[in-house]
Symmetry: C2
Subunit: 109 residues, 2 copies
């Protein structure tokens, strides 16, 4: 039961959210659940990290939000990518690819 500080997440959460939304609009809670499920809980998305991240991205024009109704018919805020968000996603995927390849080359080499 190690502490497993999640300092690694730093900087990647934004790209992960953008990628999640590239499949279509989703509300915040669903984004978190989807990422956790998709990664078998290797990535844990804390709400205290997620919501502020969503606001930052909306403010930067990467996302737009609309209130709606969830699958369970609860009020929920749906986010979707803007064109700028799509561009940023591409850039960040590229940056991740470079960076992770470099780190892996060192650590796993």
């Amino acid at each position: 039961m190690s502490k497993e500080r999640n300092t690694l997440l730093h900087g990647t959460l934004e790209a992960l959210v953008l990628k999640t939304l590239s499949y279509g609009p989703r509300h915040g809670y669903a984004i978190a659940r989807w990422l956790e499920e998709r990664t078998d809980d290797a990535i844990q998305v804390e709400e205290g990290s997620l919501y502020p991240a969503l606001y930052r991205m909306e403010e930067r024009g990467l996302l737009r939000a609309e209130w709606g109704r969830s699958e369970l018919d609860r009020r929920a805020k749906f986010y979707h990518l803007t064109p700028r968000g799509e561009t940023t996603l591409r850039e960040e995927v590229e940056a991740w690819a470079r960076f992770s390849a470099a780190v892996s080359a060192v650590l796993l080499g």
Copy 2:
């Protein structure tokens, strides 16, 4: 010439330093140069990040330091791994492997 904020480095610098030292003792400046060369500058190691990181790790008992002479015969502080440092290296490599696989699965999937 994008700004390329290095927020991704967060949390990996420690593992990168540990790995570098697993090949044998090195002084701080040499660790930075080695990592940059090894990764074709994909990873840039700022001294303002490196030296504090070295102190933190020494304090946690992952490294031990000794003053000596560099290849160019200048005074330099050589760091080497402690047994605890070796253990931590293994754990952090494992954590990186898990995490990066999860992120890559999402971003590159």
